[in-house]
């Protein structure tokens, strides 16, 4: 299967409060439509690794290739465009914009991309909301939704530009078991449709059900 993400000897240091080698010589590759969980104890560097892969953190040594593009060394503006088109994000604390409705939150990345007209984007956003069973809440201000509902809207938003890769940082960390199950099923479905999913998680159940588990310890991959 085709590799969608590859890293070569990626190293990262924290300099504050003192110099600390947080990511050590990571060589890894992830295939298209894989559902990968990254697990490990707190402080093992798994979130740090995810933010390196996401291109948000550019302060590292080594090389990262995503979707056959070397993202290492691209300018901030190029990276912003790249993220917009290729990567969908889901975070632990949902992070919707509270002034906007659920639908508008989902539409934002597509409006930013500017590839389609507003009407087309609205139709696509409604469809994505439908896929996470949030269609009925589309017009609600996102601040009025429950935590699980917000996380599902965030998933829909991550999908709006049909990214190749979805990256999730503790996507179920704040959710009850019902919502955790819902989000997991959505991920599973997405992977089946050809999306690649990389999720950092503490939840062993969640990780156990994914295609592959990458376990980290002290900045190195141990499994």
């Amino acid at each position: 299967m085709a590799e969608i993400l590859k890293t070569y000897k990626v190293n990262k240091y924290f300099t504050e409060p003192e110099k600390f080698h947080v990511i050590k010589d990571i060589d890894m590759s992830i295939h298209t439509s894989e559902f990968v969980s990254i697990v490990g104890k707190s402080g093992c560097g798994k979130s740090t690794l995810l933010y390196l892969l996401s291109t948000l953190d550019t302060n590292y040594e080594g090389r990262i290739e995503i979707n056959n593009t070397v993202v290492t060394g691209l300018s901030q503006n190029e990276l912003a465009k790249f993220r917009n088109e290729n990567i969908g994000f889901i975070f632990q604390f949902h992070f919707l914009l509270p002034e906007f409705t659920a639908l508008e939150n989902v539409m934002l990345p597509a409006l930013k991309r500017g590839k389609f007209s507003k009407e087309e984007i609205e139709a696509m956003a409604m469809e994505k909301l439908g896929s996470v069973q949030m269609r009925d809440f589309a017009m609600k201000p996102s601040g009025k939704l429950s935590g699980g509902q917000q996380q599902r809207v965030a998933v829909a938003r991550a999908l709006i530009n049909n990214p190749k890769i979805i990256m999730a940082d503790e996507p179920t960390g704040n959710l009850d078991s019902v919502n955790t199950g819902l989000v997991f099923d959505i991920f599973k479905e997405l992977a089946a449709k050809g999306n690649t999913i990389i999720a950092v998680t503490h939840d062993n159940d969640f990780a156990g059900k994914s295609d592959r588990i990458i376990e980290m310890k002290d900045g190195e991959i141990v499994r």
Binding site: S47, Y51, S54, L56, D57, Q76, N77, A80, K81, F82, R83, N84, E85, F89, F91, Q92, F93, F95, L96, L97, P98, E99, F100, L108, P109, L111, K112, R113, G114, R157, D169
Partner: protein
Amino acid sequence: MTLPVNLNIAKRHLLSRKKQSIVAMLGVTFGIAMFILMISFMKGVNKFLEETMLSMTPDIHLFNDIKTDYSNSITKEYLNDSNKLAVVRHPRPKESSSGIKNAPNIMNDIRKDPNVLAVAPMLTTQAFFNYGAVQINGVINGVDILEEARLYGLKEKIVDGRVENLLTSDNGIIMGVGLADKLNVRMGDMVTLATPKGTSTRLRIVATFQMGMAAIDNSKSYVNISTVQQLLGKDKSYVTDINVKLKDKKVAHLLAQDYALKYGYKADDWELTNASVQSSNVVRDVLTYVVSATMLIVAGFGIYNIMNMLISNKLKDIAILKAQGFARKDIIQIFLAQSTTIGFFGALTGILLGFLLSYGLSRVPFPNQGMISLKFFPVIFEPLHYIFGVIFGVSTTFVAGLMPSIKASKIDPVEILRG
């Protein structure tokens, strides 16, 4: 087309915290309103003073200056020796006529100039008005009253009587109201005046005028030019001053230089005569701009603070926008749009408030302390000031919003997203 997305976010941010937006806007509103009020008032004062001055000074004033060039002396001829140096201490001007020779021809010549609107001769002398045992100092201008009226709009300044009365009486006088008050006389009364040459005459008051400047109204009066010629014992062609009114004031300076060369007399243009007024105008202008700029800077700091606060409240949103692919310039645009919107609406309400305040001031009676006669505070309404106000408001808020916006664009999303 990323602009509408960014602007939409900016709009939501503004509307979701209406109170804060309005407070920020009011800072600009008051700054601009005070700017409009101050500049309208200061420019009103400038205009009033300038008009008053100009109504009393001709565009070009041609006169025979006292000769103060003593470089030639007959002492030299007396010594008749080029090796000797003649030094004369404290020379005095020689006795000479202060009149303009050949005045009628000069006037005719000036009248032919297409730039010239009116030319009037004048014969001025000091005079002492006898008021019981006291003598009051004054100036009498012998004039061709119809030409004079054309030059200065004298008819509008007449309080009592008519300008033409001077023509129908051979010993009439038109007197400033202040002088008439001092002498306790009114229309139809007789006054006695004496010249420095010792001659005296009795004149009848046929009209009174009020220029608006106490210094003028308390000393000046008009009589027929022939009356002064008789008083001074001079002939019919004796004239001390020629006053010229131009179609376009701006050429006065150049034309004055021409006349001085051509006729050999001193020619002052209105700018030179009113130099003190001009310089006080500059002082007022500078003051207006300094005070207004200070107010706008204060308003700018208010906006700077509010934007900083907004951005610290929106760190999460900024991080998520960046993660979704919004670039630094998008973030700058989102926040800069907010501060300039505040500036724009602040400036609009500011010029409205400024207009209302200026209008209000223009209806407030001016306290009368006798120096100048003004019914209301002088205020002018100049569209350019209002356009300036809007430009000032928007540009101040742009600058004030720029730094916080750049700061927002530099936020590292990873730090925020990791919590």
